[in-house]
């Protein structure tokens, strides 16, 4: 495409030149979402099998028990074979997917030797990890 070549000679493109990195990022997101959906679905089967005929009630906010609020609580609940524990594990995987994407971008920007963007990405990752781990969500 001659016009494209001409344009690129007078303009220096900045965004990721490495097309492979973009494909890897896309696959990472897709895999994370599919995996978490499968885990949620598994949990849904167990949960519905056991509780299908109980009454649903979300009118009054009670807050979730610690089993569903902390990572060790969720893992404990999964070990016990609880459907809701599995659902919560799937949701944790879902939240982890964009965080993994950000972490992976640090690698991408380092390969491009773009220090400024490695710095920006580290800031974003720190905010995300603080939200997940630092706001009362303890190990």
């Amino acid at each position: 495409m001659p016009s494209g070549l001409h344009a690129s000679s007078e303009f220096k493109p900045q965004p990721w030149r490495d097309k492979r990195m973009e494909v890897i990022l896309g696959n990472l997101l897709r895999t994370g979402v599919l995996l978490s959906a499968l885990v949620v679905l598994l949990g849904a089967c167990i949960y519905l099998y056991r509780h299908a005929l109980e009454m649903a009630d979300y009118k009054i906010f009670r807050g979730e028990p610690s089993d569903f609020r902390t990572i060790p609580g969720v893992i404990e609940s999964v070990r016990g074979g609880h459907g809701r524990g599995w659902i919560q594990l799937g949701l944790l995987l879902l939240i982890a997917t964009p965080i993994a994407r950000v972490a992976f971008s640090i690698v991408g920007f380092s390969i491009e030797r773009d220090r400024m963007y490695v710095g920006f990405t580290v800031i974003v990752l720190a905010i995300l990890l603080y939200s997940l781990l630092g706001s009362g969500f303890t190990f």
Binding site: Q14, Q88, L94, R101, V124
Partner: protein
Amino acid sequence: MTILLFTIVVAAVSFAAGLLGSLTGLGGGVVLVPLLTIFFHVDIRYAIGASLVSVIATSSGAAAAYVKEGISNIRIGMFLEIATTSGALLGAFLATWIPVRAIAAIFGVVLLYSAYLSRKPRPHAQRNLPPDPLATKLRLNGHFHDLEGMRTYNVQNVPTGFGLMFGAGTLSGLLGIGSGAVKVLAMDQAMRIPFKVSTTTSNFMIGVTAAASAGVYLSRGYVDPGLAMPVMLGVLAGSLLGTRILVKAETASLRLVFSIVILVLGLQMLYKGLWGGL
């Protein structure tokens, strides 16, 4: 209502919201919280927690497709994510402080504004602007390919865009929505980024923004597995189907219908927030 019936009905409604949201480009999350609170009598905090989780699912699912096209600008996205994630963190903390009725009222106002935005014709912002020194320093300017060949663009008004993004993040964290409309507004109107690049980059950012407040919501016990499960699976399936049929569907009339739905839900939320009933 039994749990089985509740799960099936909520999954079906979420599927429809995800499908319509993706077909019209207005997002499904914005109608989910009012639907759950008004018709299913779900406490708004549970509804926000479930909606937020579904926002991550749709954003990440769709971003996988966009990233391959190479239109979204990863540097613009990452730079602005500093603003949206810190805003989202603030919003999530505010949500635990602000009375439930005030959150409902704010939600109503945001819905009304979204309905207004969706009907307003997009003014053609001036393109081919000279490079802005700050944007150049931050390496935000970019290029993409379309039918006319390679197109380059120079990003403008970086501080304004950054500030608007902080606001978008706060709304997202406070209300459990993607606030894609505000993000596109900031990028398209303030920063003068081409519309195609704005929408795809915005979608890319929504998942990361939502993840920043999801951690806070989870640890505060706002995310109920029994409610989040049908919402997340329904919205994800609906939006994935929506991106498949997007090209063929006639979206103009669909957009009108959906913006009327948003308008009505906005009025209801505002009413409930101001005069009670939640």
